[in-house]
């Protein structure tokens, strides 16, 4: 009896270790994307998503209202196709616009929704095309430098 009891405990220990390893592997390999929150899906097209990542937040007025579910590249329009899953508690007008924003100076990038004025609401499967790309710091700096250079020439 004693032997089988030890067997059981050793088996439990090995199982626990294996579960821990699988947990570590899954949470880094992003295979553990079981969706607990159910939401309606909306697709948005962006010219440039910057550093947006799957599972990033979708915020409206700073409140988290959904998650980025998937990011794809559309080789017809050469734009990024971002699938958003929005919390069914909240409804947004059909002409709402999306922006990619950054929390803080170096923080995580997220999608901001700005509500429009349409009386119809967004429904599952809708495509939002009024979007504003992520601010790419390099572009900003180069624009700034070019405008500085142009200023210098005109004087």
């Amino acid at each position: 009896m004693q032997r089988s009891k030890t067997d059981l405990w050793v088996g439990l220990f090995v199982l626990l270790g294996a579960v821990a390893l699988v947990f570590l592997a899954l949470q880094s390999a992003n295979l553990l994307s079981i969706n607990v929150e159910k939401g309606y899906r909306v697709v948005a097209k962006f010219d440039n998503i910057g550093g947006l990542k799957p599972r990033g937040a979708v915020r409206s007025a700073g409140v988290v209202v959904g998650r980025v579910e998937a990011i794809d590249f559309d080789d017809k329009s050469f734009q990024a196709r971002v699938t958003l899953s929005l919390n069914p508690k909240y409804a947004f007008p059909k002409d709402s616009s999306l922006k990619i924003l950054t929390s803080g100076l170096l923080g995580e990038q997220y999608v901001g929704i700005e509500a429009g004025a349409d009386s119809a609401n967004l429904a599952a499967g809708d495509v939002i095309s009024t979007t504003q790309s992520a601010v790419v710091l390099e572009n900003l700096i180069s624009q700034f430098l070019y405008s500085k250079a142009a200023d210098g020439k005109s004087k």
């Binding site: 032997r3 439990l12 090995v14 390893l21 949470q27 170096l106 923080g107």
Partner: protein
Amino acid sequence: MKLRRVADLGFMVRTLLADMGYAARLFLRLLMSLGITLRRPSLLREQVHFMGNYSLAVIAVSGVFVGFVMGLQYYYGLQRFGAAESVGMLISLSLVREFGPVMTALLFTGRAGTSLTAEIGLMKAGEQLSAMEMMAVDPVQRILAPRFWGAVIAMPLLSAVFSAVGVLGGWVIGVKMLGIDSGAFWGQMQSGVDVWLDVGNGVIKSVVFGFAVSFIALLQGYRAQPTPEGVALATTRTVVMASLTVLSLDFVLTALMFSI
């Protein structure tokens, strides 16, 4: 007088070399005893039970608290730059790459390594090992080998438990207490941690530490003076040597694995 000093030095070098040779020979014998150990799984199982299951509580509790502390400290540092979401990635990286294997090895030295040394040292003091040799039973194969391989098996599992529990501890502090966005916490972690480069190398590290710690503990026990003082000294030496070996090996392994 000068000649005497030179002779002393020579004696020291000879003793050191002989000790190293003995250690290398014992290590090889332990490595070669894998087949025999696997043919007697009941001995191995007993050792995994003793070293693995009984170390689980101290490993898990330490892991939770290390995760808590890292959550607080990384948050404090990162929220100045508005990058508090990266807490998850940093906690996971530092646990999987360094803290998991190293802390587990150090705790394991204290929890299981010392008892290995004391057990074998006392067996030697009680002349049980000599009695075995008289009966043509090899104590290296019968006593040392199952303990050696048991520790090598238990170490990576304990290290994985430590890291996993630590990540959960960091999540409790970061997400539940400090209010980092949960999706960003996991999302950043997933984009920053690689399965093979980070998790895989962490497992390799803990296996290497398993070899090192259990070998040092067994060597010290096997070479202990068969007196109460000798066993006490051997146990102390196990802790000191194993801790230093783990920390210096960790540096070497990190330099090999992660410096590009």
